[in-house]
Symmetry: D2
Subunit: 315 residues, 4 copies
Amino acid sequence: MSLRYAYLGPSGTFTEAALRKVADPATDEFLPMTDVATALGAVRDGRADRAVVPIENSVEGGVSATLDALSSGVPLVVVGEALVTVEFVLVGRPGTVLADVRGVSTHPHAWAQCRKWMTANLPGAVHVPATSTAAAGARLAESDDGAPLGFEAAITAPLTAEQYGLEVLASRIGDSPDAVTRFVVVSRPGRIPPRTGADKTTLMVHLPDNEAGALLTMLEQFAARGVNLSRIESRPAGDSLGRYSFSIDAEGHIDDERVAAALIGLHRVCPLVRFLGSYPRADGGGVDVGKGFTDEDFRAGRTWVQALRDGVHPD
Amino acid sequence: MSLRYAYLGPSGTFTEAALRKVADPATDEFLPMTDVATALGAVRDGRADRAVVPIENSVEGGVSATLDALSSGVPLVVVGEALVTVEFVLVGRPGTVLADVRGVSTHPHAWAQCRKWMTANLPGAVHVPATSTAAAGARLAESDDGAPLGFEAAITAPLTAEQYGLEVLASRIGDSPDAVTRFVVVSRPGRIPPRTGADKTTLMVHLPDNEAGALLTMLEQFAARGVNLSRIESRPAGDSLGRYSFSIDAEGHIDDERVAAALIGLHRVCPLVRFLGSYPRADGGGVDVGKGFTDEDFRAGRTWVQALRDGVHPD
Amino acid sequence: MSLRYAYLGPSGTFTEAALRKVADPATDEFLPMTDVATALGAVRDGRADRAVVPIENSVEGGVSATLDALSSGVPLVVVGEALVTVEFVLVGRPGTVLADVRGVSTHPHAWAQCRKWMTANLPGAVHVPATSTAAAGARLAESDDGAPLGFEAAITAPLTAEQYGLEVLASRIGDSPDAVTRFVVVSRPGRIPPRTGADKTTLMVHLPDNEAGALLTMLEQFAARGVNLSRIESRPAGDSLGRYSFSIDAEGHIDDERVAAALIGLHRVCPLVRFLGSYPRADGGGVDVGKGFTDEDFRAGRTWVQALRDGVHPD
Amino acid sequence: MSLRYAYLGPSGTFTEAALRKVADPATDEFLPMTDVATALGAVRDGRADRAVVPIENSVEGGVSATLDALSSGVPLVVVGEALVTVEFVLVGRPGTVLADVRGVSTHPHAWAQCRKWMTANLPGAVHVPATSTAAAGARLAESDDGAPLGFEAAITAPLTAEQYGLEVLASRIGDSPDAVTRFVVVSRPGRIPPRTGADKTTLMVHLPDNEAGALLTMLEQFAARGVNLSRIESRPAGDSLGRYSFSIDAEGHIDDERVAAALIGLHRVCPLVRFLGSYPRADGGGVDVGKGFTDEDFRAGRTWVQALRDGVHPD
């Protein structure tokens, strides 16, 4: 079935690399969007079936924007994820040499991630912000020599250099050579992807109050059911300093008894819990379910209590 | 309906006083037994319908014997409880005066509970153990002057003095003038007494291992569901030193969602949990159910998760 | 140095067997006492230097009496412990055979521990309570045939049979063939036995209030410092039902940093903590000190904070 | 004493507004820097005595950059904080009207915070990223009409409009009209600001491993000492996905016993703890110290344990 995928464009971004891992441009429609909120909005209003947006350690400005856009407004759910290795190149128009470079355009997050290389190799270069690495590359490529761009080079993904015919002045200039960005595939709510045994569940949780005790109470809902967390991030709750919500990836699927039990517990103790999807892990890693936390353990407990209520003592 | 009540006899004990609070000698049959295990055995083998035995702070040797007898063997359940104020008197045969008393017979627990008075008033008196306070009184009453009993007085309940025509040498001689003993009414499993809103649930729980961490894990099953404990007692697990089980009274009824959830949790994390009954509290005290722990809160959580599983997002 | 040892007598009890493990009758003075409170009182008022009393799983009525006597009154401390294997024999006067036995005298705890054997082999036998197993043996031995004792046999330790020239009618009649009783050596406070690396610390702790949460708070003081508990027993606080104190054996010595830290924490959160001694473990078992809980870890933490306070940043 | 203050420039930013709350341009030297890392670097290498940088809910790109720059490299400490109300205005060159505006320049965070107003009032406007709100205003002011800037308006602080003679096209256009940004004053380690009774302590903590249990263990170090947290934020640990460190503001001063005890505990259980300063709270709010957590409570606990070690029993 052909699907329409909104993504954080333009063409050539790391997000497009992620998109190509989950969709096929030959059969699916790729719809580049200017920012994360717009991409998610396209799914909300039906212009797209899916959105692919960065969620963690992004170089495209993704994390906060994605978390916050998922956390409010019309409900959306994550139905998949993709991991992309992040590699930066410094590119210029053909003929440019390093010594020419006085200004470098790129997204601020990419600039931050190449800081060490820039300080060592182009200490005087000025940063010219762009809305994405691909946008910086595009602007560089589209200019002709006479125009005063204010920069002679851009930091982009290798794919961008290819697409725009730019010359690579330096490769692998990122501070973390093995950085990975995680992207999620977002959909309107509907059928949850079936349980595979190696799944994640993403949530947004508000705390009952502001104390350490409240965070402990929330985390205990997971611990009491043997559910590990693979990601936890605080997000300002928005109205004032000192109030936080938490964005969480838990190991397991809502169809796992232990995950359902943790959700029911959270629903009881937290003022707001938003379910943002259960979906297969991209890394295919397995999940260790501890003693007492299997589906069978939960069912056996319920069966036992029901028998007791019926006056039958199985022990 | 007439019921047969086994109880810790003989006639005149504090247990009989408790029995009279829950049964009527005019319509029910009272069956005195020599010890707690025998009384419970009479219910197990069908010779009695109910047993009334002391469970807490007993002067009749009750606590450990009752807890241990309930914790193993054919399952029994508690279906009610009764509180009896414990008051001790020193009694002698008519004509006895305090100065005559060289030996005092009573149950060892009663002896222990009158220690201060005895030390102050009869410092030289020797303790002659009896199987119950009533047995001590009976033996004193039945003896005739010539026989060498080895004691001239007994410590008993006021009721015993009356029943045997003994003379009260001193009243209110207990160290704790307002001591109360709690008795339980025990039955074979069957219909659980209906929920009243002011109930108790009694359990016996084995820990997964011997560390403080295991006890914490067990207690968290209650705390995570807002269930308070009104009694917790460790009992040696019997096979060797250093292994314990715990006898617990929890506030609430197995038909309360929060109690059922705690039981299901215990069933998952503990190697053995024995349900020993849900029944109305004798003191009629109410139960505070905290925010997030009402039946409605539990049902709302389950409904919410079910809706999510069905692809419906209620928030 | 010769010491005076009070113990739970009379001669021939299991307590004497424990006493012989820690003291030498050739050089030390053995002072039999009628009960635990009297033995501890002898140390308190200076008539004895040490008391040896049962503390756990006792057949002599020890546990509660010992715990309660240590928990109030003039402070005493445990300075050592001893383990004694408990073995019961059924004894009679020479010439007695099993078929003659209608009454059996022994301490109620011993009676309880031989219940299975008695039910199987002497189902009709009546229990005649005695203040100790040795007292039952002594009374049997001292009677001459004509006197109406009311019992023809006694349940005692093997040592008692030897001492009184009684005949063993049946051996190893206890329900738990490998039962062990733990005895403690009690002294007035003074020099604490030096740390051996395999020590125990005994405490009595009152909870801040009656909820499960209070018990959790107390146990967390141990868990947060990596201190395992080898024994925990609830004790009624005495004034009314539903209030408890806890008697605790923790692994480690007050001179261990982690034990001292747990004690300081308990002192802060509990209304009453009574230190009842640090002393070497009788079983010589080692203690696993987890990562982060060694003396060095505690000292390093303090040193680090002190450096920070002084404006020095060691990291 | 005159001090040199590095801050996130240029002149006219919200950071300068914060700086003016803690320093006086008449006596102190104000050194604008291009980004947070450079401002902190100026303190590290001695070119400045202090840096003022945003740390929470910033519109200038502060949070992550500040947290990460403080968390690694040569140690720095926070010695004060300042709160600034964030108010956005849309500004243009004199004569501009709203209908002229097709492009709007500002820092991406400011753009994100004015999203609702922009969508409602200038739905077609394109965002042109700038390195700060003040830089966007400056560029607009410095351009002359003929130049192709690509934007006709900027989102800035009211102060910027004033400084550059720009015309306010719309006021209070932020989504959260009462948004506040918190700034910190950073220094090289040295004398810690004295305890005032209303202080904060900032920390960066690595977890022992990635599980919910590890986060619980860390938070319990605070809870066990009654230390509340006013801010907790996860930060990717940098090397790979799924590893986090936590940036924390705790209530209290390192000279408070309870804070020192929590730090010692963290030092024991966490692989890395970085102390980032104790300093007075800008809001002057008091601190509730719970029962058992005052300095006196901690000292009393230590005194008690020391007495016990010396063989003195104070209870």
